[in-house]
Symmetry: C2
Subunit: 176 residues, 2 copies
């Protein structure tokens, strides 16, 4: 789905947060923090980085230590681009490409065995996710100072926790 070129802005934000980052490390970010909101594999990221260097949003450098590694920095132009993107208000709610809902949607009979099966699975997935998120929260934000330094990140983590809890609660309710 060719959305409106979100990926470069995400990469820009990552580089802005962590100067001197490598492509591999950027890739890793999509497997942890960002991973809940966006996915991208290295085969998407490397060409994108090239384009961004080309457009003057970032600059690359190498070191003697590691011949292959390339370190990226955001440029002032990149800063502008990032800020301009952040300034734009969101116009639409995201859609939830959610197989759980989708499958339920097609099951008509209240007594269909697959309903409790889907629900149980969903609940266990959500409980695992909740544990992970809570662990991240204590790990990344051990004190108030950490929260202060990365407030937006803190917000979305607590939001994800709240949302996950809510979904689990809902599942518990209908199980009865």
């Amino acid at each position: 789905m060719p959305k409106k070129r979100i990926l470069p802005f995400i990469i820009l934000g990552i580089i802005n947060n962590r100067p001197h980052i490598t492509g591999r490390e950027i890739t890793a970010e999509f497997e942890t923090e960002i991973g809940d909101f966006w996915r991208a594999s290295h085969s998407q990221i490397y060409p994108e980085l090239k384009r961004m260097v080309n457009d003057g949003w970032i600059v690359a450098s190498t070191s003697q230590e590691n011949a292959k590694e390339r370190y990226y920095q955001i440029t002032s132009e990149g800063q502008e681009v990032l800020n301009h993107w952040l300034d734009q208000l969101v116009t639409d709610l995201p859609i939830h490409e959610d197989l759980f809902s989708l499958k339920l949607f097609f099951i008509k009979d209240q007594n269909d065995d697959r309903i409790p099966q889907l629900i149980n699975r969903q609940r266990s997935l959500l409980e695992k996710e909740l544990k992970y998120l809570q662990q991240r929260l204590t790990l990344v934000f051990p004190n108030k100072d950490a929260i202060k330094k990365n407030y937006g990140h803190y917000l979305i983590l607590t939001r994800a926790i709240s949302r996950t809890k809510g979904q689990i609660e809902w599942l518990k309710e209908i199980e009865e």
Copy 2:
């Protein structure tokens, strides 16, 4: 994002729910009920329908009334395919390609003006969505019999409402 061929199963489910449906009506389904969980445009749907006829999942027919319209029916093979898909348990939680979270993630400063701006916008989008969902609920499920006849659909609608309310509550909390 080339996911694992979800679209044909969705279309199959739609045709199963509404025999004698046309391609245009299938397209319309993605703008109402299904639209919260999956999007597809007609340029994706028509070729897909062709493939599905070719694979024997559905059959097409025409009528004298309207020369262009093609009416689709699910075959017994299609029924099997659909049921097999519904039988498969979901293995992963969906990711939320959510610009709101993404943008917040990149804002570090607690006093950044853009945080309340993003939050206000999100709240108004969610409140609009909530109204729409509640309206759908009373419209599609006016009585208990309607619920009984389409239980899965009922579940995901109430789930969407619960989720939306939860998100609004969370936004209210942090606004203080």
